[in-house]
């Protein structure tokens, strides 16, 4: 049954599958919540109803995304127990309170104010409504902070001791939360979420500009998104570099896997492309640039970079996946940088809304953030192997005593259900994004009229109309 796969492999597949689907939604909703907050602030400040209409346009998209994030997240909070019981027993005393704080400070805040943000403008008025939007945006950021503290602790554990039943016992919570990789991972991931949103919003703006370059709403969203792309991408690349230096210090084996290095070098080359082969302990077909690896990783062309052979075979992460996912992430980062710079140039030339090639490029880059986020996530998580708590608790010792069949069948159930539900969800999101942002009588309106705006029937019509564009 299940191709003779072990419970461990099936459980890892299941976790990778469910967390990959889950991560896509918060990566979008973190940025989208802040975007909505900015839109509403601009509406209140400039008294320009265009911003309110844009708020309503993206609010629906946020609601669908957020809903999928919630339901796929609940699965995660129980999967630690069902499939990774030994991990939960041992690491629960450290990881658990961090996730407990995430629920108490973030999930309740988001959920409590989401209803008001989505349905309550008419009931509470613009000021309280704006407060609710701010709370939802704040909640998404607090949530990211706690979950990344927990994840970073698994990568670079600190501030703990162990007891006689093998549990990790907290000693210093500040050291646990602010563990060595946490600040880098937090900033890198939150910026990634902002960039994911920027490129998604930019693509929607570009799509509508390609059909009608005079559409004011499309112009506003495209312009805002391109500012974000142009300003944040360079910062993100800088932060990513710092994150890499931090990883080299604390998890050098992960760096060796990402770089496809098996041998230890002084003045290591940068392998641009190749196929790492863990069995043969070499990277086939390597295309290398001498010394550049050491220069990038250690900022010194002659620095020594350890290769995977420096570790015993059973302590090495597999190289193939991190090697490729890392290159995908970096490649997309460079493309983002180029698009951002191009948009600055077009803005300077005053062709931001006319340059169809820029619009086409931005449209193509729409999914880039999602792919980059997942690729980066795979790099760091696969690079942590063969441990769940780095260097201390092996993945193979983290499992529950559950039958491989149970895990296999539930994996199939998750695959089937997720493809149906989230497949449909993504389709609905795309259809919502293809709605033409209506530029109407916003100069005539002088206040928040119908907060919620559109009734379901009209919305259906609108999305149906938009759907023909495909």
């Amino acid at each position: 049954m299940f191709l003779g796969m072990s419970a461990e492999l099936l459980a890892r597949f299941q976790f990778a599958f469910t967390v990959s689907f889950h991560f896509i939604f918060p990566a979008f909703s973190i940025g989208l919540a802040s975007f909505l907050m900015v839109l509403e602030a601009l509406w209140l400040w400039k008294k320009d109803n265009a911003y309110l209409k844009l708020f309503d346009y993206w609010k629906t998209i946020f609601a669908v995304t957020f809903g999928m994030g919630v339901v796929s997240g609940i699965v995660m909070s129980y999967q630690f127990g069902t499939n990774w019981a030994a991990f939960s027993d041992k690491a629960g005393p450290v990881i658990g309170p961090l996730m407990g704080y995430e629920v108490l400070t973030a999930f309740f805040l988001e959920a409590g104010f989401l209803g008001i943000m989505l349905f309550g403008l008419k009931r509470v008025g613009p000021r309280l409504h704006f407060f609710a939007t701010c709370m939802v945006a704040l909640g998404t950021l607090i949530s990211a902070t706690w979950i990344l503290a927990a994840n970073s602790w698994m990568q670079t554990p600190a501030g703990f001791t162990t007891n006689d039943v093998g549990q990790f016992v907290p000693v210093d919570w500040l050291q646990i939360i602010f563990n060595p990789s946490f600040p880098y991972r937090l900033v890198h991931t939150v910026l990634a979420a902002f960039l994911t949103t920027a490129f998604a919003v930019g693509a929607v703006g570009a799509y509508h500009l390609l059909r009608d370059k005079t559409n004011r709403h499309a112009r506003i969203m495209f312009s805002m998104a391109m500012w974000m792309a142009a300003l944040v991408t360079p910062i993100q690349i800088f932060v990513g570099d710092l994150h890499g230096l931090n990883t080299l210090e604390h998890q050098p084996a992960k760096i060796a896997a990402m770089e496809g290095h098996y041998e230890t070098h002084k003045g290591a080359p940068l392998i641009l492309f190749g196929i790492p082969d863990d069995k043969a302990e070499t990277t086939h077909f390597a295309i290398e640039i001498p010394k550049l690896g050491s220069l990038i990783l250690a900022h010194d062309p002659d620095a020594e970079i350890k290769g995977l052979k420096a570790w015993p075979v059973d302590e090495r992460p597999p190289a193939l996946i991190p090697f490729f996912t890392f290159r995908i992430m970096v490649g997309l980062g460079i493309l983002m940088l180029l698009v951002g710079a191009w948009s600055l140039w077009a803005r300077f030339r005053k062709t931001l809304y006319d340059n169809r090639w820029l619009h086409r490029a931005a449209l193509t880059m729409g999914p880039s953030g999602f792919v980059a986020v997942l690729a980066g996530w795979y790099t760091t998580e696969v690079g942590r192997q063969p441990y769940t708590v780095y260097g201390l608790l092996r993945t193979s010792d983290s499992l529950a005593t559950v039958d491989a069949q149970a895990i296999g069948f539930s994996l199939i159930a998750f695959i089937v259900v997720y493809f149906i539900v989230f497949g449909a969800g993504v389709f609905y999101l795309l259809r919502l994004m293809s709605r033409v942002p209506e530029v109407g009588d916003e100069d005539l309106d002088d206040g928040p009229t119908r907060a919620a705006g559109i009734t379901p029937a009209i919305q259906l019509e609108a999305s149906g109309r938009g759907g023909h564009g495909h």
Binding site: V64, T82, G96, T105, G112, Q167, I454, T455
Partner: protein
Amino acid sequence: MVIDLATIWAGLIAFAVLAYVVLDGFDLGVGILFPLFPDARDRDVMTNSIAPVWDGNETWLVLGGGGLMAVFPLAYATVLPALYVPIILMLLGLVFRGVAFEFRFRTKRWKPLWEWGFCLGSLVAALAQGIALGALVQGIEIADRQYAGGWWDWLTPFSLLTGVGLAVGYALLGATWLNLKTHGELQAKARRIAMVAGVATVGLIGVVSLWTPFLEPIYFQRWFAWPTAFFSALVPLLVALCAFGLWHGLTIDRHLQPFLCALGLFILSFVGIGISFYPYIVPGALTFHEAAAPDESLSFLLFGAAFLIPIILAYTGYAYWVFRGKVDPEEGYH
């Protein structure tokens, strides 16, 4: 009884689970009742009555799960593998239920699919939670800090009965919620359904209560030995009082009273389970002191919980207050 960190946390986790059961109980109940309301406008009103609050309600389930891992990691690590199948079914049910709020407005052609998903998802989640409860009550096997039974051990006549019991109870909560939040024919129908569900719920509470003491000697002793026998006399009496209040409120067309009495039935049943369990978290196998995380974990999270839970209750209460009163059928969804 010494009040220490583990005892306080046992109380807080119990509170989170109870909050989850009564809050998500009524909105899962609304989902379970969907097939009885085929009219499209009725269904819009029904989902609109819970759309602003369901996410907050479900967050208590995350607190129950995440909190259990934080403060009773050994219980989390043994109970969830033991209840593997019902837990996975519950999660999948909640996926379908949760996305339906948005998805049913996003498509005409596939709307029936998401409405069935909403209903069956709610029903499966309710059954699975009830089955999980029954399986926990009948006990699970633990050896060497790991679950030691098979992956079908949870399936017994008793656990199936508690599954049905909880689903019917949620339907009662849902019906009394609709009685509170709607008017006209929809409300009248909800009231009639609440009467049937009320009788069925009280009957099932009775059967489960009579069956439980014979599952394990400790339950028998707990319920029929002094001083706890005092409670075993008091709890049924209060159940009878709530049942009367429920029936009376429905017959004279009160709107809030039946909902409160249905909540009362749930709270009393929960207290009854608490009396049976104490001081165990997994009956007969693991006390909550044995399952507790080190004090450093308990005190760190308690510090935050003591501050944050009152604040959470305040703004959750505010969110309910904002959407108080009958649902306006004319109010658009978004």
